[in-house]
């Protein structure tokens, strides 16, 4: 989570620039506020017994600090992932199932599909790539790297799309040509996961 917080902080202005083009220029500031709160919430006094407890706490903290659409969406995603991981550590197989639950939760709440120019466009290929990697026998680090690459590619692929969900959808055709901020922040989170698992 520290890596995610650092990534969000480092890319805050970039996220805000992307959001200024097709939204209301607060995605970077909102996520930084959320992950700063997460860093505090996971401070010295919090000792989770399972991976799930930690991620559920992350989810609740995001919901109660981010606001906007990204608060509930990211919050629900972390909570859904956390609910699947009631063990002190998680292996690649467990995480594959949990990530799928996270994706389902985001899709249910946001009612967004692939190609709507939302975070789903990064999250869906990332989860699929993670699944595929695990199915072909790769370990956690390689699966996380594959997911991060797929998320990044998915985020870039939102550039030519016309937004059909969320605030950018109100711009209609004018949303074309801009990378989606939510897909971009999703790619950042998977990049942080890949970075951390590579060193594990």
């Amino acid at each position: 989570m520290a890596a995610v917080a650092a990534a969000v902080s480092a890319h805050k202005d970039e996220l805000t620039e992307l959001d200024a083009a097709i939204g209301d220029a607060d995605h970077g500031a909102n996520l930084q506020r959320g992950f700063t709160a997460v860093t505090v919430a996971l401070g010295a006094e919090f000792e989770p017994e399972t991976v799930g407890q930690l991620l559920t706490k992350v989810g609740m903290t995001l919901i109660s600090s981010v606001g906007g659409a990204s608060g509930p969406l990211y919050g629900s995603a972390f909570r859904a992932v956390g609910k699947q991981l009631a063990t002190p550590e998680a292996d690649a197989d467990q995480l594959a199932i949990a990530l799928r639950a996270g994706l389902d939760s985001v899709r249910a709440l946001g009612a967004a599909a692939a190609g709507d120019k939302t975070m789903v466009d990064a999250l869906m290929p990332a989860v699929q790539a993670f699944d595929d990697a695990v199915a072909s026998g790769l370990g956690l680090a390689d699966a996380a790297r594959a997911a991060a690459d797929a998320a990044e590619a998915g985020a870039r692929a939102t550039v030519p799309l016309q937004a059909r969900k969320g605030r950018a959808s109100y711009l209609g055709e004018r949303s074309i040509g801009h990378q989606d901020p939510g897909a971009t922040s999703t790619a950042l989170i998977f990049a942080a996961l890949a970075e951390v698992t590579a060193g594990a």
């Binding site: 506020r33 919901i63 606001g67």
Partner: protein, 357 residues
């Protein structure tokens, strides 16, 4: 950026502290972990339905400035242009529930909808508070289709909060207040034009650049670009552009009942003709437009409406639903009837709207 600030981070809290200092009838509860809410200092009368609204800050006087007799019982300001969070909304609902339930007035923006939805679930399940939600989606610049998140909620929020608030003061039930709110929304449509972008304190620079001779057509209230850009028109041209879009809606007798109205068509007049329609009209500045220009626009609007046979029976001109320091104006019409007019004329005493007291 040049603004009166202590810091961008404390902008909302500092502003609310000033609101409370200026209006002793309000209290700001700001020390909770989940963010502040603004409520009437006097407790909700037992049996009175409470109205709670909220949304991103930066739309003043919406919503905190509409807390008081005859309108809202509490408002939950989020960060600038960012919806409040569920815990904050739940805390406000618990603070003002008078036992008769709470109506949430929610503008149709994805973040607002999701956070109020989560708060409504928490209120019902954990706090045992009956909640009804009125979704405001009046902005005709965004057409309904299966491909968008629907119309935005903007200026009609003032009508919904005023009229439903008046009905709640009379002791109406939760269902009656919510139904009235939905009826007002179905009878209201808005359209806005901007001359400049606004600058959020956190971002520090304008959201978009607009050449001197151009305007953003069909803007919302979050500093986002509009649906299109056009050469700057005269005030008469701007008013005509906005009113043409609004009067084309079935509720004002316009249009041909095609897909444009969709599920939100509301209460239709005779198709294709607005003559004889009575409306309450709001011309709201977006934050940086002088009252003189707003009155000028209202004059053009009243002339155009008269030509179409539409009577303005109540009017409101000023800054009511704003977008920080955006130069621009929004036009909102609400189709009147006797019940709505009586509720409109009922006493209201809030920082942003006050009469009859």
């Amino acid at each position: 950026m040049k603004k009166f600030l202590n810091s961008a981070d404390s902008f909302v809290a500092d502003s609310l502290a000033g609101l409370a200092a200026a209006h002793p009838a309000l209290r700001v509860k700001a020390d909770g972990p989940d963010g502040p809410f603004v409520a009437r200092r006097a407790p909700t009368r037992p049996g009175k339905v409470a109205l709670v609204s909220g949304g991103g800050s930066g739309h003043d006087p919406l919503h905190a400035g509409f807390v008081g007799l005859g309108m809202l019982d509490a408002a939950c300001p989020g960060e600038v242009f960012t919806s409040p969070v569920p815990g904050q909304i739940l805390a406000a609902a618990q603070a003002v529930d008078g036992g008769a339930g709470v109506v949430f007035v929610v503008k149709n923006y994805t973040g607002d909808v999701l956070n109020f939805q989560m708060a409504a679930e928490l209120a019902a399940e954990d706090a045992g508070i009956a909640v009804e939600t009125v979704l405001v989606d009046d902005d005709v610049a965004v057409r309904d289709s299966t491909w968008t998140a629907g119309r935005r909620g903007t200026g009609a929020t003032v009508f919904v909060e005023k009229l439903a608030g008046a009905l709640a003061e009379r002791g109406a039930s939760l269902a009656e207040v919510a139904d009235l709110g939905r009826r007002v929304n179905a009878r209201s449509r808005s359209f806005a034009v901007a001359l400049t972008a606004c600058t959020t304190p956190a971002n520090g620079k304008p959201g978009f650049q607009l050449p001197e001779d151009e305007m953003e057509v069909g803007v919302g209230i979050h500093g986002e670009p509009g649906r299109s850009r056009a050469k700057l028109a005269s005030a008469a041209g701007v008013a005509a552009l906005a009113l043409d879009a609004i009067l084309a809606e079935p509720v004002f007798g316009g249009g041909d009942g095609d897909a444009a109205g969709g599920a939100h068509a509301g209460e239709s007049a005779a198709s294709g003709d607005s003559a004889g329609v009575e409306v309450m009209a709001l011309v709201s500045g977006l934050g940086a437009t002088p009252l003189s220009e707003l009155y000028l626009l209202f004059g053009e609007a009243s002339r155009i409406l008269a030509e179409r046979g539409v009577s303005i029976v109540r009017s409101l001109v000023g800054n009511y639903v704003t977008s920080l320091d955006m130069a621009g104006a929004s036009f909102t019409l609400c189709r009147a009837d006797d019940e709505l007019l009586e509720l409109w004329d009922a006493p209201v005493n809030t920082p942003g709207l006050r009469w009859g007291v």
